[in-house]
Symmetry: C3
Subunit: 202 residues, 3 copies
């Protein structure tokens, strides 16, 4: 139940991030919906393919697709002023990252994946949608940029894995872990936490 | 039988679109064959992975690969004048899109996927090859450009799904649906049917 | 046993090629590790998805990930002078290509894939990691460039397939085939073996 709500939140957030990035790239309404849906459904499809859930869950019921498409259309109609789009993409992406990384881990655990594997698949689920969005729009993937990204997803996934090992209730743990990822990612963006770049010679 | 012929037509069309785009990007003969094969086989491999057909059909018999490679080599030897390559890519791509979106839906239905799921997988099969081609060549994916693309694929996939629900014979329905997609897509290109772009502020 | 050692060599080589390319693209330490891991694990994950090994082997035990991450971190700390990075990427990529194309074929044969299918999956395993690296970093994929690449991978995969048909011992055959691929690829780079480019008109 908590998991279902979280998944929907992540889906809407990623659909919004994709649609906002599409508007920013001056795509028309179809392109915006395609990027929104690819971002929203991509992570979950990757998760299901890695776990052997075929056909993928998100292609089996109409409400995932509808929620994603509706979000993209609403963004298309009421997007923020273009100058503010970049920030909006980053915030929506942070929410999607946090929710999908942790809910993806929980789903993998429910399907009896080992804890270690579940954490990696969860992290991949969180990162996947954003990578697809950035590849389609030919921008530098967020996961390669200067602020903490994959590490935040791995942190959240590990919290869910740890909760599972300790036997804690899944719903609340996932919610707390997702919130942590979003907080870490937004803090990293806001404070411009940067990691070192390699020296020029060695 | 009709389905096999259609699949071969789609494969040749997509191999040609990939090879033509490769020639246009000044690739050598190996690069042209690689892009041609990736475009021709990509959609079907995505379909099989989503449906759990492992290893994918197109990697199981030699004639898919041979037909794709032969097409790419013929294109390499006898491609149209470079100035006309862009149009040739678009036309070949439209044929591949139509055939793969509809034949992909029919294959998914044969493998007992629910109708709704089959339509989405069919649409993805149609779109997949072209997206791989455009990502490899670093061009803006056709699916994001201004003319109707994914919607045409979804239309054809839905026609096959509807025919299945109504119990109509699969072969002819698929052929008609494929032709419809190609016609819609070429009309959209020819008449430059555009969809609205988002306003600059809101 | 020989196969496990080879896989580890390929993984380290691809992790190094990804990390070197990441340093060259001025990524920070996280980005370098992400590209290194995606390059090192990508090919094997594609292989496992095509063969229906779910979850993928490389996500099931900690040492693949650790070896890849450690390699990326070492490269980050002690990479060659930036001016020489491009050559280092190419050499590491050649080793990864050779090992993964041949070991991938051997793994597919062990999982009872037909010889023809196993060779194609092996070739894809070899090519896959490098394509992911180049797409993430938005460079022209090596597989499309002028020197022999996919053909070298296919040659090595076919040698393993032929050895299997002839009933030769798997380990040594794979090692010889991998060495052949690396030699062919490095020779092609060194001697600038080029294939013809299409004429401008026809």
């Amino acid at each position: 139940m908590v998991l279902n709500v979280l998944e929907l939140v992540g889906l809407v957030a990623f659909a919004a991030s994709g649609a906002l990035a599409g508007v920013r790239a001056r795509l028309d309404i179809f392109g915006v919906v395609v990027v929104g849906l690819a971002t929203a459904l991509g992570g979950g499809i990757i998760r299901d393919v890695l776990l052997g859930v075929q056909p993928p869950t998100t292609l089996q019921t109409w409400y995932y697709l509808s929620a994603g498409a509706a979000t993209a259309l609403i963004v298309f109609a009421f997007h923020p002023h273009v100058a503010r789009l970049h920030k909006a993409v980053l915030v929506a992406d942070a929410v999607g990252l946090g929710v999908f990384a942790t809910a993806g881990t929980a789903v993998a655990l429910q399907l009896d994946a080992p804890v270690y594997t579940a954490c990696l698949i969860g992290m991949t689920t969180g990162i996947g949608g954003g990578v697809i969005r950035d590849l389609l729009l030919r921008s530098i993937p967020l996961v390669l940029r200067k602020e903490i990204y994959a590490l935040a997803a791995l942190l959240g996934a590990s919290m869910v894995g740890l909760g599972h090992v300790l036997g804690l209730p899944e719903g609340p743990v996932t919610a707390v872990a997702a919130t942590t990822v979003v907080a870490v990612r937004l803090l990293a963006l806001w404070r411009r936490w940067n990691a070192p770049v390699a020296r020029d010679s060695a």
